[in-house]
């Protein structure tokens, strides 16, 4: 059992949790995730580790409510417990001195990007963060990200704050106006990562993306998380979740994410009906 020691709402439907998981905290490196099961009968689903503290034995998670399992998680209160937390899983981010690094976050992607940006800065990179959201209200971790980069640029789809448009457009504009980057990391919804890769591909900037296929075990045992990168089939939970964005088959992944759509809707409808 893994205790929730702190809980905060970051934005509508987006919650930050501090969870007691000493073994996970001890070995966590940026880019890794945990598999969570909220309660008996619950799904195993992945969440990126946003931060960890070896001393207190806690990890931070940020979850956006999109369906039954994340909805169940949102109902767990401070002092209550999660049934299972396994990790840290996946390969850590390749963090070394690249030079000028741009970290691009879309929506909930700000959470997984936070430890990566910090890691990149700590080893001496010049780090720019481009943070995007649909609107100002949905933007998360802005202050936190500010502290782990040299320059923070903001974009919103509706222009409520910062650049009016997508992060990929802002990135393209910055590059055209003379900024140059040696390395890019993009995390967010699939279309956003794909759009960023279109831009960085144009300028030959090596780009890492973090993929979010449906997972079951998270240890390489089921193959449900397989993705295609440069034509090769890889398991995101053990070979990733980060991959060379310029080689990812986004269309295939985006389609595979719909595999259980019907069942997910059915689960949600039951929740709505029974309130359970």
């Amino acid at each position: 059992m893994y205790k929730i020691v702190e809980k905060r709402t970051l934005a509508p439907l987006t919650t930050w949790f501090l969870v007691e998981a000493p073994l996970v905290a001890k070995r966590h490196k940026p880019g890794q995730f945990v598999l969570v099961r909220v309660c008996e009968g619950g799904e195993r689903f992945p969440l990126t580790i946003v931060d960890s503290d070896k001393e207190t034995g806690t990890i931070a998670l940020v979850s956006q409510e999109v369906g039954k399992s994340t909805g169940l998680l949102a109902k767990v209160e401070e002092g209550e417990f999660l049934l299972d937390v396994a990790g840290p899983l996946g390969k850590p981010t390749d963090i070394h001195q690249f030079g000028r690094v741009v970290c691009v976050a879309g929506g909930i992607g700000a959470a997984p990007l936070f430890p990566i940006a910090r890691g990149m800065k700590n080893v001496g990179n010049d780090v720019t963060v481009i943070l995007g959201a649909r609107n100002e209200e949905l933007m998360i971790l802005r202050e936190e990200l500010e502290t782990v980069c040299h320059a923070l640029r903001i974009a919103t789809d509706d222009g409520s704050v910062g650049f009016h448009g997508f992060v990929s457009q802002l990135l393209d504009e910055r590059i055209q106006s003379g900024e140059s980057y040696d390395h890019a990391v993009a995390i967010g919804p699939l279309p956003m990562m794909e759009a960023v890769c279109k831009v960085t591909g144009k300028y030959n900037i090596p780009t890492i993306v973090s993929l979010n296929p449906v997972m079951v075990d998270g240890t390489g045992m089921c193959g449900g998380c397989r993705v295609k990168v440069h034509g090769e089939t890889l398991f995101a939970c053990v070979d990733g979740p980060e991959f060379d964005g310029l080689g990812v088959d986004f269309a295939s992944l985006s389609h595979r994410l719909k595999m259980y759509h019907k069942q997910e809707q059915c689960s949600l409808q039951r929740v709505a009906k029974e309130g359970a």
């Binding site: 073994l23 996970v24 070995r27 099961r37 009968g41 619950g42 799904e43 195993r44 039954k68 399992s69 169940l72 049934l83 299972d84 937390v85 396994a86 990790g87 840290p88 899983l89 079951v216 075990d217 240890t219 390489g220 045992m221 089921c222 193959g223 449900g224 397989r226 295609k228 089939t233 053990v238 088959d249 295939s252 389609h255 595979r256 719909k258 595999m259 259980y260 069942q263 997910e264 059915c266 689960s267 039951r270």
Partner: protein
Amino acid sequence: MARDKAKPGSIPRQKMPEQSPLARVATFSEVALGLAPDIAHLESERCLMCKKPTCIEGCPVSIDIPSFIQRVVNDDLEGAARVLFESNALPAICGRVCPQEDQCESVCVLGKKFEPVAIGRLERFVADYVRENGLDLLPNPGQATGHKVAIIGSGPAGLSAAGELAKLGHAVTIFEALHKPGGVLVYGIPEFRLPKDIVAQEIDNLRKLGVEIETNVVIGRTVLVDELFAEEGFDAVFIGTGAGLPYFLDIPGEDLNGVCSANEFLTRVNLMKAYDFPNVDTPVHVGNNVTVIGGGNTALDAARTALRLKPEKVSLVYRRSREEMPGRAEEIHHAEEEGVDFQMLTNPVRFIDNGEGWLAGMECVRMELGEPDDSGRRRPIPIEGSNFVIHCETAVVAVGNGANQIVASTTPGLDTGRHGNIVADEETGATSRDGVFAGGDIVTGAATVILAMGAGKKAAATVHQYLLTLDGGATENGAAEITSPG
């Protein structure tokens, strides 16, 4: 009771009572119901009590078979159980899933002229008697030695190693990656062949022996092998992580929605209980037509599991002929009875898209058997121009498993072989690393429950020796202790 000297072969081999095919495909409850006491007794009478019991040689853990059967004849079921437990910590499980037809029963002397003694059914009968009557035959944990042993993986290899070492007085902790212990016994083999409460009970028994089980710990990620020694204070480590990396076919269309590995399909249904969706949250995809690819136990389990999720049709596609199927004869028979459509000598060449990214069918080619290959089985060769399409919305790929690299790749100095398996001595379990031992599917590649258990047991004996040398000698005593069973 005195033994009637029935004439050899005068009693026919007793049949296992089973749920009818029609009834059983409607549920996940166990197919084979177990022998009634009088029937078990009759079966035990068939044993010749051979002076040279070849059956024992056929048993990977050398159960003293005539000795336990003699006790069934004498109606001393508790005594029979004690004989089983001397060699096999999990008889209720082995009695259900061992391929006896290739092991003890294949070399039974009676079987030369008549049908062999139903050794497996008797093993199950005895083990169930003990279980159902709550008899406490648990050995006591040995006197504490002060040594700590870490077991990685809670499949049959890890469970048997843990039990043996606890009996010898070592403090044993099992680390399991998943949230539930049991390995393939819980996530792979379905309820209708191996009820999960039997596995749970065996695991409880280990806990009673003092074995600690830590779930949600992925060694190589959560904790490294080196840290187990340096920081957690373990004196030895046994690796029993199984063969858990599913192979795919590597043919076009394998990323279509509707195609999954048997591991995924079975894990969703068995471990995550997706058969009960939406009462539980994990779904499973089952179209009207399901095709399973493969011929082993995994393929058969996937096909029969699919049947119970009520599609219109389940087909099983295998590239060789029925004789070459590596699955257990009994389960092939069960699958056929339940209505699985066998497409033998058939190989898939591509998965067909319905135009929207979902599986619509599988193009296959018919095969014929040519000359024997390395495995001694006749090599299947495609028949040109024989291509045809099997219509299906779900395809389950069950063409074997390889070795997961998480432990090996994070443990410096641990040698692996050609297929990524950990290299370990078959008799001792010793690896290239001092204090690190391994056994089961991670060493041999996908094999059987009993072989994994046997490997765990043998390795436990070596671990024990190793721990004694840490104490500074006295290995002879140790050897005597290990070989005396109980």
